[in-house]
């Protein structure tokens, strides 16, 4: 039995779910308005003979008819960035404004970081942290190619992140795009299925709780913290939220998106979770022809 069958009780149409998980992902890119307006990006793709279709929920995200978007002029100029469609959701939910201070706790390789920067018109501060030094070089080169100048890159353990180097003021918003079991990326990385293990789920869930708690603590009262993963495992999603709702002063807000989503689950494997977790969204591959994803929006303070 492969791990996807574990989630059969959560899925409305298991056959469609399995069938979509076996198919490769469409190739998608995000237009980068820091380097060029989206109209010019579209013209660039037209001039290069790359057919594109804008996504219905986000005009900057486009499906492109090429297997190698990295070898286009648009990419060389930093006008586009290869990014999976659902991975463009969390920064939109964070909804940062120009001039704000935003914490990106697990930032590498930087697709979401640079999208946050673009949503802020490249003004303010994104503290892009990652504990993995090797992955930071990808984050830095992506940020530079995309022309981002409002990002500070740090290499710390997010569970013990200190605000001291940045004036000790709490952040306006934070994104925790947590390390996870990644079954949602099966269409891109089929090996995640064989690598899955219950012990890894338990280990990584501890890490996720620690990182999300620290992000809530480091965000100001009334600020927003977004939690996202690319796993279907409730242990790494709703159970993490349940833990943090109990341990920290925060609540879950509904998410408004045109993507087709399902609510967070309030029961799994004999456990019951805080009913607020139903306001989180689950994204299954067969609903939008994307990867699998989970996203929740928290507000800090009562």
């Amino acid at each position: 039995m492969d791990v996807l069958e574990r989630y059969e009780p959560l899925v409305d149409d298991p056959e469609a779910f399995y069938e979509t998980c076996r198919r490769p992902l469409p190739t998608t890119v995000r237009a980068n308005p820091i380097k060029a307006p989206v109209e010019r990006v579209r013209r660039a793709l037209d001039d290069e003979g790359v057919a594109w279709t804008a996504s219905e929920w986000n005009p900057h995200v486009m499906t492109v008819e090429t297997d190698f978007p990295g070898n286009t002029w648009a990419n060389f100029h930093g006008w586009i960035h290869g990014q999976e469609e659902v991975s463009a959701l969390p920064p939109v939910v964070v909804d940062p404004r120009p001039g704000e201070r935003v914490f990106d706790a697990c930032a590498a390789p930087g697709g979401k970081t640079t999208q946050l920067a673009a949503l802020m018109d490249d003004e303010g501060l994104v503290v892009a942290n990652d504990s993995n030094l090797g992955r930071l070089s990808a984050l830095r080169s992506n940020a530079e190619r995309l022309g981002v100048t409002n990002v500070a890159v740090t290499n710390r353990d997010a569970r013990r992140f200190s605000l001291d180097p940045f004036g000790s003021e709490p952040f306006d918003r934070a994104l925790v795009d947590a390390p996870c079991s990644c079954e949602g990326t099966v269409r891109k990385n089929p090996e995640v299925i064989d690598e899955w293990s219950q012990s890894h789920v338990e280990h990584v869930a501890g890490l996720q709780k620690g990182i999300l708690r620290r992000a809530v603590q480091a965000t100001k009262e009334g600020g927003v913290v977004v939690y996202s993963t690319c796993t279907f495992a409730p242990e790494e999603n709703e159970a993490v939220l349940d833990h943090v709702l109990e341990a920290e002063d925060c609540r879950i807000l509904p998410i408004d998106t045109d993507l087709e989503t399902r609510p967070g689950v309030t029961e799994w494997d004999g456990e019951e979770y805080d009913p607020q977790v139903a306001d989180a969204v689950r994204i299954y591959p067969h609903h939008n022809d994307t990867g699998g994803f989970f996203c929740a929006k928290l507000e800090v303070g009562g």
């Binding site: 380097k35 010019r40 003004e123 190619r145 981002v148 500070a152």
Partner: protein, 177 residues
Amino acid sequence: MSDEDVEGNDLDQNVSHRLDRVPNTATERTVEGRPSREEIVDWWQERFGIPPETFEGHTFWEKGAGKIWAYAGNLDSPIEAESLGMSVLRTRQEHWKPTTEAAQRWGEEATRNVIVLDRERARRFVAGEDQEIEWDGDWGYLIVAHEFAGGRAPLGVGLYLHGELRSQIPKGRRREI
């Protein structure tokens, strides 16, 4: 005594993982050789005609000797970080050298020392090739661009010497397009 101790005892030197904001003017300088904001902004104007207002929202920082970064805001100096904003310029050498990314981000504003290549030459340039080409202007570091998608689009930096344009696109950034 270890190297670390040497660095720790001399706070006015460049330390890796630490970015120091550059002084506004040369008279405010406390670290020898560190360029000032005024010198940096003037250099972009003198060399490429990029107006000083372009950098109004940015502060400049030095990390390692001579490597200048542009950050889109204000922070107290110094900052302990792997990077802050974008690496834009290499100073503390006879001829200051802009980075590929700075040329791409601000090169559209340049009015001089810009060489515009046709598509085939642009391809060779981004693949990292040096090429013979006629150029009546200054020798040294030029912004290299091509016409693309309705306007001039800067590609990066070339070093022009003796009738040859040497691509300065870093290895990891080169592409066969």
